[in-house]
Structure formats: structure tokens, C-alpha cells
Amino acid sequence: MRNKQPVLLTVLIECESFRWYVAGIDQQGNTTPLLCSEPQDLAPYIGEPFDEQANFLRHRLSGVLQRGCDRLWGKMMKPCQVVFVTDMPFQQAEDGLTQRVADHFFEWMTSPPVVFYTIRESSPVCNPHLDSIAGELLADWNEALKQGFPKMLSKCSQTDPWELVVSKPHPG
């Protein structure tokens, strides 16, 4: 049971729709779609004070990682690194929220380590340029992410590959 395939547990956050997707990307750049949320899943942070916004996102995204790890385990895979990607800064929030959340995961989670990217504005949709705002990708995984992330993006327009997770309503 210990011989599990290492993958990048990759979380794409669509900031405008407040939705997320989780997939595994193996070293050959193959993508295994796992889970996605409904639109507005991350929206409960809107209108909260800055610290509460960060707390909510840390909590909810940790749950996303937990579910992702569980699904990988069932497929005999194991994350060697967590990769977050936001397609833009978190919306309807102060500018620093994305960086705060990124720094939290980078500092708090060491096993597996975290790298947090944003997609560079105006970079091509089929081959997006990722800018790291916290952490570094593990050596030897650059090509895998470069190959696998566009495949993940292309699958986001389909419903079949993803298991939909419905979050419990936020108590507010």
C-alpha cells in the first residue's frame, strides 16, 4: 500500500465564479480529474472582515485538499506536492487576500509542500503562464505541470470527469 504513484495535487480556483477543481498530475503530465465544487462555493468570504476572509478560505481549501488526498489514495496515488493556481486575484476582497492565503498554505503545510501560482493576465488560455507567489515547484516536476495543467484546464469545461462536492452551508 506504500507504493503509490506520486502526483501533483493541483487545485484550480476560478475566482470569478468562486469555484474550484482538483486533479492529480503525474510526472508524465497525465491529468486525473478528481473533484469540483459548485459555482459560488468560495463566495461566503464576501463581505467579511479581512482576517475572516482568510480564515474561511484556509478552512475551505484545506477541506478541498483533504478530499483530494482521499480520492488520490483510492486511486493508489499520493501527492508529492500541492499546487494551487488562481486564475486571478480573489474577487470582492482587498488586494492582499490572495497573497495572505498563499503565504498561509506555504508556511503551514510542509508535508507535502505547497506552491501557489496565479495565471498571468493575458497569457494564452491553452498554455497559461504561471507566476509563483509562494513556494517553489519541486525539481523535475516543471515539465509535468507544464504538460498537465493545460489538460486540466481543458477538462474543466466538461462535467463528466469531475465528482461534484456540495459544501455544507457556511454558518456565516
Binding site: M1, R2, L9, N55, R58, H59, R60, L61, S62, G63, L65, Q66, R67, G68, C69, D70, W73, G74, K78, P79, V82, H104, W108, M109, S111, V165, S167, K168, P171
Partner: protein, 188 residues
């Protein structure tokens, strides 16, 4: 065949519990609760070796649940898990909830099984220790009663044969619990 140890998982998010049941049901008897109150109710009704609770839940936090469990069910090993933690909740949970481990999400499923197995062993050691202490107290108490009656002399009360038999049985139990034969006192 040895029965599977009982663990209680507490999280207000049902799908996290569902995943954990799938992961752990082969090794453990798994109970689940979606609130601290429900968890305490289950612990009152079933012997639980390990309590593993989320920190961030409405109404009762995991730290508060651990604190109450520590006082009411001290042989249950307590584990807190959370997606993130402010330092205050960590300190509270450790100081007042007697935590065995603080686990952050996401956990590695293989490591979680190992951790829970260790936690069960801790609980079994604690339960054995408590049983030993109770039996020791009983033994000492009976010994005190017997010595009291012996001090009464030939005109005093007769020593109750049932008491003597219970005393000898308690000594045997202590020998089993400590894995050591009771040595005769000096002069015997």
C-alpha cells in the same frame, strides 16, 4: 479473534466523515458524529478508544470537546484535526484537552492509520493503568480491613472468610496486571 478497537470521528462535514469511514472501517469499529454534543452522547453509550475531532465546528469546538472528553472519558485518546489553527486554539487544546496529537488537513491516509493504531495502544495502556490502580486501591482497602480485625485480638470479631477470599483473589488479579508474582513480605 480480537475485536476491532472503537474510534469516534467528529466533523460537521458529512462527506469528510464518509471518506474516513471508507478508509478506516477495515481496521477499526468506526463511530461518527457531526457535533460535539452528539460525540459525547456516543462516548457515554460506547467504550471509545480514540476520539478524533475537527477543531472548527459550530456550537462546540474540537478543543472544547477534547476538554470535556478528557474529564469524562480519560482513557480515550484524543486527537484534534484541522485545516488551519490559530495558536490560541492549539494551546487550549493541548493544555486543557490533554491531546495526543494535533493533525492538520490534509493528512496522508496511510500515516493516519498508523497514527490511529498508535493512539489505540496508548488508550489500551491507559485503561490497563487505570484498572491496575483501581485493583490496587481495592487490595489495599481490604488489607486495611483485615489488619484492623487482626488488631482486635482473640476477643475481637472473626475475620470474614469472604473478605479473605476476595483479598486473595484481588492479589491474584494484581499479579496478572503487573505480570509480577506478589512477593512475601519480610519476616513471612
Amino acid at each position: 479473534m480480537k475485536t476491532r478497537p472503537s474510534i469516534l470521528l467528529v466533523d460537521d462535514e458529512p462527506d469528510i466523515l464518509h471518506s474516513l469511514i471508507g478508509l478506516l472501517r477495515r481496521q477499526f469499529t468506526v463511530y461518527t458524529a457531526q457535533s460535539g454534543q452528539e460525540a459525547l452522547q456516543i462516548m457515554a453509550e460506547h467504550p471509545i478508544s480514540v476520539l478524533m475531532t475537527d477543531q472548527r465546528m459550530p456550537e462546540m469546538t474540537g478543543a472544547e470537546l477534547a476538554r470535556q472528553a478528557y474529564h469524562r472519558f480519560p482513557t480515550t485518546t484524543r486527537i484534534l484535526f484541522t485545516g488551519y489553527a490559530d495558536i490560541k486554539s492549539v494551546i487550549d487544546a493541548i493544555n486543557h484537552g490533554g491531546l495526543y496529537r494535533y493533525v492538520t488537513k490534509p493528512w496522508d491516509p496511510d500515516e493516519l492509520i498508523e497514527l490511529l493504531t498508535e493512539a489505540v495502544e496508548v488508550s489500551e495502556r491507559e485503561a490497563a493503568h487505570q484498572k491496575l490502580m483501581q485493583e490496587l486501591q481495592r487490595y489495599v482497602s481490604m488489607g486495611q480491613q483485615i489488619s484492623q480485625r487482626l488488631r482486635l485480638g482473640p476477643d475481637g470479631h472473626e475475620i470474614d472468610q469472604d473478605l479473605l477470599q476476595a483479598f486473595a483473589q484481588s492479589g491474584s488479579v494484581l499479579e496478572e496486571l503487573t505480570h509480577e508474582p506478589c512477593k512475601p513480605a519480610a519476616g513471612d
